[in-house]
Amino acid sequence: MSDSTEELHVDQSKMHITDEIAIQITDMNKWYGEFHVLRDINLTVHRGERIVVCGPSGSGKSTLIRCINRLEEHQKGEIVVEGIELNSDLKNIDKIRAEVGMLFQSFNLFPHLTVLENCTLAPIWVRKTPKNEAEATAMQTLERVKIPEQAHKYPAQLSGGQQQRVAIARCLCMNPRIMLFDEPTSALDPEMIKEVLDVMVDLAEGGMTMLVVTHEMGFARRVANRVMFMDEGQIVEQNEPEEFFHNPQNERTKLFLSQILAH
């Protein structure tokens, strides 16, 4: 796909997968009205796993990860995140959302707040962190994503890649145990994709549990421990990246891979 993943520096030895279960999805189904978007999803994610979810558009991959922090509601089955079951209990939902960071394709930074305020808002209002402490953490995090000098600008003054890195910093300030990425680089110009992927590699090396919906197959190859292919609302195939790319089993997987890896 993109050349930007060619020069990613990835140290797989820093990534550890533990026995602890971060997310457990059992027989989950979801409908949009009459339309059956997700069908019998079963998925166990261990702490430290990096799972890349791919598939054609409309296959339900975004909907799946949006169910994990209840941006979408499932109608059947069970989702347990960090030991808390997702049901209509609002307290549980807010608790899970504070533990699960989410990155969006369109960044969704708060345009009326500065970069720093974007990062301190949730710690102050959800975690009740004192303001100066939250600001110190935010500055450290902005340094980690390499844009501390932009702290007092507004999001609209930054480039797409910088905005997405701020969005990552905003998540990290909440100290999440799991991070969900919904096509984080799809809205970026090619020269900005790498700066975002670099930060994601850094997170993976830090042991973050990650679910990534992306078309960056280079990233999948080098960072993921598992690649999952979805089509028409169902998990069609999943495997270690090496096997997945070189030895796909299902016909639909083969077709999809041949289409996206053709050039």
Binding site: N69, L71, L90, D94, K95, R97, A98, V100, G101, M102, F104, S106, F107, N108, L109, F110, P111, H112, L121, A122, W125, V126, Y154, A156, Q157, R170, C171, M174
Partner: protein, 377 residues
């Protein structure tokens, strides 16, 4: 000859930036771009200049040069003008404003107590200041919160101050009481209605929709008649419920329905991603509404909100229909007196200028606020 085009090209260096051509900058460019940009524009420019030359000097002449400030009646004015400028010349008779100024401002408020509404007005400016300008210290908001109580006692009396009846309150004072109370109360009610209309809870949503659509579907005058006449039938006999208060409630409800729709527009203009990002960070409904959604929705709605404010303030003149003596309500009684019978333009012009000062200030403030809150580029 080769049919292959030569496509190879390499820039030999970076071209340095240079100044734009002289015809694109400076006053000449401005004139050409704004006043004489083509035939139609040039004709309109010339026509406008002619209209200004024809209209403005006679107006200035009538208002200022031939205007009379001191006279006891309209015929007195005419005598002064005839003596100064000759028979048959017309000029403005501002003497009526001079004589009735206090009445147009305070209604029939006892003149020895004028200091009370004046003090209330000055305190109002002080109470509004921290709300309007965020650079002022935040503790001043406590004063703003306490102001309505202070203003009530200053205007109506009580707590040792001599009591003034509602019937004595009139003129611009009445417009400001109704207008400012309506403006201050209709914004929060409008916000609640707009949020309610978006609610996923069926009954809350239905109540808000019915309220908004009912109020918007009824003329304000109807509501004012309900306030002045019909409400007495519904209230238990013997309850006296101040007419000004009833009118303020009706005007507030009327404006809040419009306000709700303006703010709903602002809410709808927000990207769905803003709601999702706030949710995904673990902010609950009230926090995300207060910190993320409303600041942005209200910012987008500022022109509409101020538009509604201005409309509300001017609509206060409708209370003259139910017999309250706001500036417009006072004009007919004044014109009915023997001294000022036949006077027309001067009174309406004066009232127009009074209202214009308030409305134009609101409009300017709205522009200041829009500029200040602009962070999207």
């Amino acid at each position: 000859m080769s049919s292959e085009p030569n496509v190879a090209f390499v820039a030999s260096g970076q071209i340095p930036p240079s100044a734009p051509p002289a015809s694109e900058v400076g006053p000449i460019h401005w004139l050409r771009a704004n006043l004489f940009d083509g035939v139609v524009n040039s004709i309109l420019t010339v026509a406008s200049i002619v209209a200004i030359v024809l209209l403005v000097p006679p107006l200035v002449d009538w208002i200022f040069i031939k205007g009379v400030w001191n006279a006891g009646s309209l015929s007195g004015c005419r005598e002064v003008i005839a003596a100064a400028h000759g028979e048959g010349v017309t000029g403005a008779c501002w003497a009526v404003i001079n004589e009735r100024f206090n009445q147009l401002i305070f209604g029939f408020y006892p003149s020895e107590l004028y200091w009370r509404p004046i003090l209330a007005f000055v305190l109002m400016l002080a109470a509004l200041a921290p709300v309007l300008f965020s650079t002022l210290p935040r503790w001043m908001l406590w004063f703003s919160a306490a102001y309505p109580i202070a203003a009530y006692f200053l205007i109506w009396g009580g707590l040792g101050l001599e009591v003034v009846e509602s019937g004595q309150i009139g003129g611009l004072l009445l417009s400001v009481i109704i207008g400012v109370t309506g403006i201050v109360a209709s914004l929060p009610i409008g916000i609640v209605l707009a949020l309610g209309r978006q609610s996923s809870m069926f009954f809350i949503k239905t109540i808000c929709v019915v309220f908004i659509e009912f109020i918007r579907g009824v003329p304000l005058i109807t509501l004012l008649f309900v306030a002045s006449v019909l409400l007495n039938y519904f209230l238990p006999p013997g309850t006296s419920f101040d007419l000004i208060l009833r009118v303020v409630i009706m005007v507030t409800l009327f404006a809040s329905a419009y306000m709700a729709e303006v703010i709903r527009g602002g809410l709808a203009a927000l990207d769905k991603g803003q709601y999702e990002a706030a949710d995904a960070l673990g902010l609950n409904y009230w926090k995300s509404t207060r910190l993320i959604i409303l600041p942005q929705a209200l910012k987008v709605s500022i022109p509409g909100i101020v538009n509604t404010f201005i409309g509300l303030f001017k609509d206060t003149t409708l209370v003259s229909v139910i017999g309250l003596l706001d500036p417009v309500g006072l004009l007919n009684p004044i014109r009915a007196t023997a001294a000022w019978n036949g006077i027309l333009w001067e009174l309406y012009l004066f009232v127009a200028v009074l209202f214009w000062i308030f409305c134009f200030s609101m409009s300017r403030y709205s522009m200041y606020l829009e500029k200040k809150l602009k962070t999207d580029r």
